[in-house]
């Protein structure tokens, strides 16, 4: 599996480094701007986060594209590897990308925030940003991304089972249908509300130039033993198994 | 080694005939080493099993012998080589005579024609 990861990494290395470098330069530009201009705090912060999210999208999209490529590439299909290893390598790639991106994001945000008026790190604690909460939220968002990736991989695998021209639409349709079905099922079984189970990103609300209290009531401290999380793990494993099965038996070129 | 192959006939027979000719004409002398299966297959771009079969047939006819650990060699028996020469001549003659008889020539005619033709050929050469 690590060998597969090595080649997935190499395949995307140019794009990955380019994305990180551009992100870094852009953050640097924002920092410089904010150091010289005042009154731009909220916008600059917003832009900074938007850039980070954009970079995350780009990398996530690239990972999905990589998996899609492997469905039809002969050099991959002929390899004596188990499908679960291929899936694992893609998930690992996404994990590494996300962690590295988060590091860059955290560093650039820290630097940026330090350039803002009326700001000090200790004030963060006052508004409820405990380290534990941050780490658990970040972990949960990494988990959610991986979960989403598992969904997308399954949809891609389903799409490749059909030998038609517009299989991409089948994949998208499959994704939407299964997601909706399972969401409805979860609600029925666990009585979950509409807010949980989504990407647990920290939300920041602004008004003016101040950073207000975080509305992190959803995911303050996520409980690994909670029913919802356990069911997510079960679902995750299920997704991977079905995807592996399809890859083994049903893919048509 | 250049052989013009006819894909309509078994290749191994064609190689055999070729090698026999080389031996008779002295280009492959008695006791000479012949190329290995691989070398020949590679050179002629033919299937190694075909070459193998050729060699097996030649061995069976005692034209070629295998010396353990050393390779394959043309037989050192000069008498054997003479035998092959006669055999090939005999085959040619049989076909020639049959062909001429089909055209309607009598035995005496055939002898006369051959005699005359050879005289002409020699005269042209000389």
């Amino acid at each position: 599996m690590l060998k597969l990861l090595k080649y997935d990494w190499k395949r995307n290395s140019t794009l990955f480094y380019a994305t990180l470098v551009i992100l870094f330069i852009a953050q640097l530009a924002l920092f410089v701007w904010n150091s010289v201009k005042s009154g731009w705090d909220a916008i600059v912060l917003g832009l900074s986060i938007a850039l980070i999210v954009a970079a995350m999208f780009i990398l996530f999209y690239q990972v999905c594209k990589t998996f899609n490529h492997h469905m039809s590439a002969y050099n991959r299909r002929l390899l004596p590897v188990r499908p679960i290893e291929e899936i694992g390598a893609v998930l690992l790639l996404q994990l590494i990308y996300t962690v590295l991106l988060f590091c860059v994001a955290a560093a650039s945000l820290a630097i940026l925030l330090s350039s803002m008026d009326n700001f000090s790190f200790s004030s963060l604690k006052d508004i409820g940003l405990k380290p534990v909460a941050v780490i658990s939220s970040l972990s949960y968002s990494i988990w959610s991304l991986l979960h989403l990736l598992a969904w997308i991989m399954l949809s891609i695998a389903i799409a490749w089972c059909f030998r038609v021209k517009h299989r991409v639409w089948i994949g998208i349709a499959a994704f939407i249908i299964i997601q909706s079905l399972l969401y409805w099922l979860m609600q029925k079984i666990f009585g979950l509300g509409g807010e949980e189970g989504n990407l647990g990103f920290i939300r920041l609300e602004f008004s003016g130039t101040e950073v207000h209290r975080l509305s992190d009531t959803k995911v303050d401290w996520f409980d690994p033993l909670s029913v919802s999380f356990l069911s997510e793990i079960v679902m995750f494993i299920g997704l991977l198994c079905v995807t592996a099965y399809l890859m083994k038996k049903k893919i048509e070129l | 080694m250049a052989i013009e192959f006819d894909n309509n006939l078994p290749i191994y027979l064609q190689i055999m005939n070729y090698l026999k000719k080389e031996i008779i004409m002295g280009r492959l002398k008695a006791g000479d080493k012949i190329p290995s299966v691989r070398e020949l297959a590679s050179e002629l771009q033919i299937n190694p099993n075909t070459v193998q079969r050729t060699f097996q047939e030649l061995e069976r006819e005692l034209i070629v012998e295998t010396r353990r650990g050393l390779g394959r060699y043309v037989t050192s028996e000069e008498s054997k080589i003479m035998e092959i020469k006669k055999e090939m001549a005999s085959e040619l003659l049989d076909r020639f005579i049959q062909g001429m008889q089909e055209l309607g020539f009598t035995s005496n005619d055939i002898i006369t024609i051959v005699s005359d033709t050879i005289t002409d050929v020699d005269a042209k050469k000389g």
Binding site: Y7, L78, L253 | N7, I11, R38, N47
Partner: protein, 231 residues
């Protein structure tokens, strides 16, 4: 000699169309086999199934007694009609890739073949001409010490010089423990390297015979036989 490759009543359907229709045959090791058929006859499908790229609709395929799957991929080396390299790769990346995943990959052999085929290690795969790409594919596939090699149309669309080199390579790398299946519809040069030929038409197996027997018994070249059958 053991059964290297065995197809038993294999059917492959795409929708309602049968790409392979009840195909049964076996191949022993130590042979070079020609898989003949016109375009669309099912040759590529047959090879893809044996290589494990796709699964049959029904029937069974085994290599050295094992069902086609991860284990058989370890001993099967397939050259398809599509590239075995990724666009970002250089020639040495492609070699490294195969070396990393296939324990029977012989790197020394690979480097020799690259020299033989006049390929440079640092060239980007995308900058290679079609002929050079074919040569690279062939090098990658034949540098493995596999039991079953399958080449899908290796000489189609390739210049005569490259064609000669490819035939040379096939004869060179032949050994008694393995077999090579070559699919083609161009017969003249290549028919002399075959032990046996298998003829396929419209997904059905028409004939499997020793090549010299065909010449001996029918007095025909394989090329002629092909033309007769597919006329």
């Amino acid at each position: 000699m053991s059964q290297l490759l065995q197809f038993q009543h294999v059917v492959k359907k795409y929708g309602r169309k049968k790409a392979l229709d009840d195909v049964t045959f076996q191949i022993t090791s130590g042979k070079i086999i020609g898989l003949l058929g016109s375009n669309g006859s099912g040759k590529s499908t047959l090879m893809k199934l044996a290589a494990g790229v796709t699964q049959p609709s029904s029937g069974h395929i085994s290599i050295n007694g094992k069902s086609v799957g991860r284990e058989t991929k370890l001993i099967t080396s397939f050259m398809p009609d599509k590239p075995l390299t990724e666009d970002w790769m250089r020639v040495d990346d492609a070699i490294a890739f195969h070396r990393d995943f296939y324990t029977d990959f012989d790197e020394v052999k690979a480097k020799e073949m690259l020299d033989f085929m006049k390929l440079n290690a640092r060239d980007r795969v995308t900058t290679l001409s079609k002929g050079m790409q074919e040569r690279l594919q062939l090098s990658l596939v034949l540098s493995r010490d596999a039991k079953l090699y399958m080449l899908d149309e290796p000489i189609g669309g390739v210049d005569p010089v490259a064609r000669g080199k490819i035939l040379d390579a096939i004869v060179e790398y032949y050994n008694e423990d393995s077999s090579i299946i070559v699919s083609t519809h161009l017969l003249n040069d290549i028919e002399r390297i075959f032990d046996e030929v298998i003829l396929i038409r419209e997904g059905k197996l028409l004939l499997q015979e020793d090549v010299e027997s065909i010449r001996f018994n029918r007095g025909k070249s394989i090329d002629e036989l092909f033309k007769e059958v597919y006329a």
